[in-house]
Amino acid sequence: MRAANRGDAAAYRELLQAITPVLRGVVRARGRMLGPEGCEDVLQEVLLAVHMKRQTWREDAPLRPWLYAIARHKTADAFRARGHRIDLPIEAFSEALPAQDIPDPTQAGDMEKVLARLDPRAADIVRGFGMRGETVAETAARLQMTEGAVRVALHRALKAVARLRERMME
């Protein structure tokens, strides 16, 4: 995390990958009624919050309490917001549904809705990094932007994603 806050992308990615299963466990333990996809949505919200608020972690403080505090806050938030949304359990319909492939358990739906509402270029940049695994240089070449501009655009896009998700919850 220390390295990540100084801009080391590889270290940051490693950290995110390490904390994701832990956070997924926390979210699933608290939100069994949301179903796997709902939990994954909440998990992605927690990860976004970790990302947006990573400067509130103090370098001399242990990481775990900070991480759990963020996870608790966002999970409680998400459950409150989803409290009045009806999530019918799929089991109720399982007899009526034809047999289907087991969906990817890490696939979540809310993020797609958010990206659809983002301006197309920003959404494209987020997808580029996320789904196609592009690097800054590749995105810069594809969109004919400077690398600095790509970094700024990605930063702004993620900020907008966080803001939109916040609004969707209300």
Partner: protein
């Protein structure tokens, strides 16, 4: 979108956001200059400032200044999600109890009639309007800085930001105000600071949520 894909996008964003302290150090000096200039143009210091500052009336700017320091420190602490109030919160409570005790003592000495004559003067309206007005730029700077944080309790954090901004404005206003009786200063300043604190609470609920 898959979680792994999100991680890749997040990891690529290496621009660190600003911290609360960083934002505060950027915004607060400017806000203080604005408040000071507005104060110099609209209010100005009292005629007998030097004499007053060597009397017990010197407490009028100093006590709010200390209060602002405490409230500001606590707001900064609570802008971290895992933080607890700890010693600063205790100090703030002690501070409040001492001020209430001081008011009780002054009330016991002066009586209710003393409170009426001291408090209900034209200066009261001036005080209740001036301190929130002077606090506006300070409150804006404080809330903007705190909004970079991740407070577990946005309303409380906003209230502390308001308390800090209001107290800072009160210590500025104290350089103008020539009402020095405890039965005026304690309730009037507390109410004026209270208005700013309440404003901070309401705004904090909205702007500091994350």
């Amino acid at each position: 979108m898959k979680t792994d894909d999100l991680l890749a996008a997040l990891a690529a964003d290496t621009r660190p956001g600003p911290g609360v302290a960083q934002r505060l150090s950027r915004a607060l000096p400017g806000a203080m200059v604005v408040a000071a200039v507005v104060f110099a143009l609209g209010w100005g210091v009292r005629q007998d400032l030097v004499a007053a500052m060597t009397s017990p009336a010197a407490l009028k700017p100093l006590v709010p200044l200390a209060l602002a320091g405490l409230a500001g420190t606590l707001a900064l602490t609570l802008s971290r999600p895992e933080a607890r109030g700890g010693r600063t919160a205790t100090a703030l409570w002690v501070f409040a109890v001492v001020l209430i005790a001081a008011f009780g003592a002054a009330l016991a000495a002066g009586g209710l009639s003393g409170l009426m004559t001291d408090l209900f003067t034209p200066s009261l309206i001036t005080c209740l309007a001036s301190i929130p007005a002077l606090a506006l730029p300070l409150l804006a700077a404080t809330l903007w800085a705190l909004s970079a944080g991740a407070p577990r309790r946005p309303a409380l954090t906003g209230a502390l930001g308001g308390l800090a901004a209001g107290s800072l404005a009160a210590s500025l206003y104290a350089l103008y105000c020539d009402q020095d009786t405890a039965l005026f200063v304690l309730p009037a300043y507390a109410s004026a600071i209270g208005i700013v604190t309440l404003t901070g609470t309401v705004l904090g609920t909205r702007t500091l949520a994350w």
